[in-house]
Amino acid sequence: MDQPTPNEHPLAEPYLPESVRERLGQSDPTDIVVGVLTFNDGTTAPTVAKVLLDGFRRSVPERKVLLVNCDAGSQDGTADLIEQAVGRDAAFWPVRHPVLGSSLHVVSESGVPGRDVAIRLLATVTERLTAKLCLIVDGNLKSADQRWSELLTSPILDKGADCVLPQFSRNRYEGTLTNTLLAPLTRALYGKRLTYHQGGAYAFSDQFIRSLLLSQPWDDEIALYGIDGWVTTLAAAEAADVCEAMLGPRVRQAKPMADLSTILAQSVGCIFHMMERYQSIWEPVKGSRMVSTIGEPAGLGESVGALHVERMIHGFRQGLRDLVPIWQIVLAPDTFQQILELGIDEADSFRFPSSLWVQVVYDLALAYHDRLLHREHLLKSLTQLYLGYTASLILTTRALPVKRVEEELERLAVEYETMKPYLIQRWRWSDG
């Protein structure tokens, strides 16, 4: 990491509510800033805040901790309930962060609108109070416990890591988009084997905040793609020392999510968008390496919810019926031909080869780069292909032990790395 630059915060200022500016002017430095992001999370956030503070009291009792509740305008008295839970002795700032219209449509499992503004605000507070790090946790994470404080911050405090990202224990078909696209593509591009779990619990060092987070263009693109994928990609692409904390299962107070194609367009769009900016970084990267971890590793769990594979295949075939003109534009002729051939398989014998899936993803990345179509439409056209590949993955592995699913996903990740020259050659040709 580069050395921190002198405190400069002109860009952050407009996003700071007046109350925060006043507090910043009156406050002493602190060691750790803990941000709890909420929006009508009165039933869960007080416990989250309390266990995090208790965790710090146990693991680093000598450190000064400031708890900041960034709230998007709850109607259920979330901030008051947090204050009651943590007690009057704790340093606590209830902050209502501004919610910009541009970020309203962004998908977030936390259901907190204006999440990007909140994180920018927390980063600014961390910098201004010269804290060592900032820990950010979603207020709806019911599984947060005292260990999280240490797991998410000790790599920074004790080992000089720049950023700690979460790794949750998951069941075999949980996070299929992450496991089949976001994580392996990020790994192939930047050479870091991140699990890419976007669960709303992460920590950033003061250096990471100063030299990377606050210096980013905090405008349209974050509003377009959502902060979680953006930060994760940043950690992967930049020369940052990243650690993953094993946080156990993630249990959250569920909130309505957007439709599948919107989730897909935003999360995949984030990576594709960042590929443009980091081309000089990802192009020469070959292979990949593990990142450091802390905590007890947990493999995939066995539990499987109700999965409707036939509907997924039907969704894929609907794509074959409705989206062929779009796929014809965005996919390479060879890829397109292979996709067409998949449509004739019987449901039980339906197979979508991993290599073809990777080829599809790379073709989409190229089409996005070349702006062959309106980008949102292009990204959404991936939905039916994703359903097809996911159905195939489930059909191939559902009778096998969970270990085999892990092996299959690892093979897929290697496929992404192996086929990276396919992407690079076409990207160069396209630029030429």
Binding site: H105, G175, I263, G305, L307, M312
Partner: protein
């Protein structure tokens, strides 16, 4: 290439063109097929699915080509049969279909059949027309062109008999009681279908037969013949359509669809003036009333909706009071009136108010039916009231701000009609080239709306349910098709309006605006509040949260 969907016309956007008015390929001042071929890229760019060509047959042009002198070839000034074939090939290559006007009811008095017919009572073609020794027969039939015709009978001194004509006296009606006529017209249709045409817009279909004691319109014999035509076309040609011009009430037009075995499509004439009435009176009632009086049509049939065409804005299907209102509000100057209607183009009718132009287009794009755009209306072309009859709305297409609006390279005095050159609508101000350059022009707006419409078959095929919010200035309706629910909300008023819609049945859905894909607040059990700008409208897709029966099981854990 054109699609194989036999019901393509249900989703299609049509575009009406007069060959002579569109583009002049040989510089003689008259539009022609070569000129039109050169503009197909533009039509493809715009998103047009089907071109409707006005009559291009040889004609003395006393009724702008609807007085046909020969059905089996092309008027010399427009080109050759080879040009027609080239047009069809080039259009089809771009996925555009072509239908043409076919005047079934009558011919020109210059047609060889009439010339032969009038010569002698013993002529082989005598029976092709309706001759009489008296002008008293069929007295209950109305006179359509009351401005110019005093009777439906005209004395022919050469034949020494009266001949029957429902339109101009130079357009004698064919005698469909004669099987030779019926066969001859069928042969003409198959001739053109063999050339590759995709169908016919059949002119003046209610008047084919005459029967004493009736108004000589919509007779059973007419339907029998039309069904015969349809049978023969279906038997030999795939995906071709018949579009009926029947300026009648929907209940009277309904029989022209038969049981799905007569016309594929028919114009919805009475709706059109009521769209204008609704906007001017700022109330949805005339529009909803018209649909209340519109019967169901067979599932393989479709209405054609339009705002303007090559004729006057017809007020035949209006009551006297409604007609007065339309004249008072849209044609106070008598020079704007033609026959029973208003001889103006869309933009001048709406005082060039872009908001109203967009609002009315939004209505014809979203109400049940397939929209037809009259050439030039996509750029807001004006008219020329000084020209006779309906020529004022048939002036050359305005392509550029160059000489003759880029329509022709000839001297201006050789143009078939002068280009519109006034300060507001003149070709220097209103033309395709400049609007293509301006991303927010009416032309680009039309292109975007056409594209948006094409994404959702519900517009062409969906059922309609009118919502009836308390605010009567707002017209809101649902279009539903195969699980897709579109909510269309229009403010007919020139002031901002708020409306509360009862969408309880869609609680949990998220309205997504079709053009910008912006997500609106989720629908709940409570009234759904929308605010609309003056003449504003929304096209919203009510995206349902997947029910258990529809989910894939991975949505909540996809990341």
């Amino acid at each position: 290439m054109v699609s194989n969907d036999p019901f393509w016309y249900k989703d299609a956007v049509f575009y009406e063109i007069h060959v002579k008015a569109y583009a002049d390929g040989n510089g003689d001042g008259i539009g022609d097929f070569q000129g039109l071929i050169g503009k197909l890229d533009y039509l493809e760019w715009l998103g047009v699915d089907c071109i409707w060509l006005l009559p291009f047959y040889p004609s003395p042009l006393r009724d702008d080509g609807y007085d046909v002198a020969d059905f089996l070839t092309v008027a010399e000034q427009y080109g050759t049969m080879q040009d027609v074939k080239q047009l069809l090939d080039e259009a089809h290559r771009r996925g555009i279909r072509v239908i043409v006007d076919l005047v079934l009811n009558h011919t020109s008095d210059r047609h060889a059949w009439f010339q032969e017919s009038r010569q002698s009572p013993h002529s082989s073609k005598r029976g092709f027309y309706v001759w009489s020794d008296t002008d008293r027969k069929y007295g209950k039939a109305r006179i359509i062109f009351i401005d110019t015709e005093k009777s439906n009978w005209t004395w022919d001194p050469e034949a020494k008999a009266f001949y029957w004509h429902r339109f101009f006296s130079h357009q004698p009606d064919l005698n469909y009681d004669n099987p030779e006529v019926r066969q001859a017209m069928l042969d003409i249709m198959t001739f053109w279908l063999d050339q590759g045409l995709d169908g016919f817009r059949c002119d003046a279909v209610p008047y084919l037969f005459e029967r004493e004691g009736t108004i000589c319109e919509n007779l059973p014999e007419t339907h029998d013949y039309l069904k015969d035509i349809r049978r023969r076309i279906d038997a030999s040609y795939q995906g071709r359509i018949l579009l009926a011009e029947a300026n009648q009430w929907p209940t009277d037009v309904r029989p022209y669809f038969g049981d799905g075995d007569e016309f594929h499509m028919a114009f919805h004439f009475p709706l059109m003036p009521r769209l204008y009435m609704g906007v001017r009176s700022e109330t949805r009632d005339p529009i909803i009333d018209m649909f209340t009086h519109t019967p169901e049509i067979p599932p393989n049939c479709q209405w054609c909706l339009f705002l303007r065409n090559h004729d006057e804005l017809t007020l035949e299907m209006c009551s006297g009071e409604e007609r007065d209102y339309m004249y008072y509000t849209y044609a106070r100057d008598p020079s704007m009136r033609r026959n029973i209607g208003i001889g103006r183009r869309l933009a001048p009718l709406l005082e060039n108010d872009r908001r109203k132009i967009e609002l009315l287009h939004s209505l014809v794009f979203t109400l049940p039916g397939s929209p037809i755009i009259y050439y030039g209306d996509e750029i807001g072309m004006g008219d020329n009231l000084k020209l006779k009859d309906r020529d004022g709305v048939r002036t050359p297409m305005q392509w550029t701000m160059d000489r003759n609006a880029g329509f022709s390279s000839c001297d201006a005095d050789r143009l078939y009609l002068p280009v519109v050159a006034d300060a507001l609508y003149g070709y220097q101000a209103v033309n395709v080239e400049s609007q293509k350059e301006a991303p927010h022009s009416l032309l680009h707006w039309m292109k975007r709306m056409i594209a948006a419409r094409k994404q959702f078959p519900a517009f062409g095929r969906g059922a309609i349910t009118f919502l009836r919010p308390a605010n009567g200035k707002v017209l809101a309706y649902l279009r539903e098709h195969e699980g897709v629910v579109l909510l269309l909300v229009h403010n007919l008023a020139g002031s901002a309006q708020s409306v509360e819609l009862d969408l309880k049945g869609f609680a949990g859905s998220t309205p997504v605006e079709l053009l910008g894909e912006a997500r609106f607040p989720t629908v709940t059990e409570r009234p759904y509040v929308l605010t609309l700008a003056p003449y504003g409208f929304y096209w919203l897709n009510l995206m349902r949260k997947p029910a258990d029966g529809e989910s894939y099981g991975i949505e909540q854990t996809v990341l």
